[in-house]
């Protein structure tokens, strides 16, 4: 089994664990942790693809930088929402956030 396949399998497992977290957790901060893990899996895929398929194309590394930006933004906006939610309702439990239900 090549290093590429091992890396892709690790990334797939990280993505699956993150997906489980994002779907199953009720706390906003824990949901964000799930999304972070999914993004980490995607980043690992990109690095492995860059290294073993196109090591001459540095746009692959550039894409990892963009993914890191997305991770940081996800955290910042998520905590902004958490702060607003905490101020208005005193909790960041998403089970209680049903006002948008149609």
């Amino acid at each position: 089994m090549s290093v590429l396949v091992v890396s892709l399998i690790v990334a797939a497992v990280l993505f699956a664990i993150g997906l489980y977290g994002a779907l199953s957790q009720t706390n906003l901060v824990m949901i964000m942790m799930g999304v972070e893990l999914m993004l980490a899996g995607a980043m690992l895929n990109v690095v492995a693809f860059w290294r073993y398929l196109h090591p001459e194309a540095y746009s692959g590394q550039m894409f990892v930088l963009v993914l890191m930006t997305v991770m940081a933004l996800e955290m910042a906006v998520g905590f902004g929402v958490a702060t607003a939610r905490f101020r208005s309702r005193g909790s960041v439990e998403m089970e209680e956030a049903v006002e948008l239900r149609g």
């Binding site: 091992v6 824990m30 893990l37 090591p55 746009s59 590394q61 890191m68 089970e95």
Partner: protein, 166 residues
């Protein structure tokens, strides 16, 4: 051979701590488990010879998880976030969706028929130089867009979190 060993080792560490994020008894420990998992992913980057990205990942995650831990302490029902608590819903559905998605991705990894490149990667300093050139030449628009997006997110997040008069 050594590279395979390190990739497998750090991969196992990353997966173990990712698993612990959602199975440990407190959110504070979850944040620490996520920090270790992300650091292991950064170490995998190093093992995959993407040195700049590996160091960046480890440094970024260390600071990001400190912020995350602070927010957890601020927003938890139990100060310090060290008491055990159950915070899950639709558990069976989540496990089923995650297993199916994971199996599909593992299947794609195993049966993808990847045409492996034979050339060696550049030395770390050469890689950083090439990445810098990529950012300042071909991918400049992408890089600038990412920068502007960060600025917009900063303003939007501040506007969102600011205290409003009742």
């Amino acid at each position: 051979m050594i590279q395979v060993l390190f990739v497998v080792l750090f991969g196992a560490v990353a997966i173990w701590f990712a698993y612990k994020v959602f199975t440990t008894a407190s959110m504070m420990r979850s944040a620490l488990a996520l920090l270790f998992s992300m650091t292991a992913v950064g170490a995998m980057f190093l093992a995959l010879q993407a040195e700049f990205l590996g160091v960046l990942q480890i440094m970024m995650m260390a600071s990001e998880m400190v912020v995350m831990a602070l927010f957890m302490i601020m927003y938890m029902m139990n100060p310090g976030g060290l008491a055990a608590m159950e915070m899950t819903h639709q558990k069976r559905l989540s496990i089923a969706v995650a297993v199916v998605a994971g199996l599909l991705a593992v299947g794609a990894a195993l049966f993808g028929g990847w045409p492996l490149a034979t050339e060696a990667v550049a030395a770390p300093a050469g890689q950083t130089r090439e990445l810098g050139l990529e950012i300042m030449e071909r991918s400049m628009l992408v890089f600038e867009t990412a920068g502007v997006t960060i600025l917009v997110a900063m303003i939007a997040t501040t506007a969102l979190a600011i205290r409003r008069p009742a």
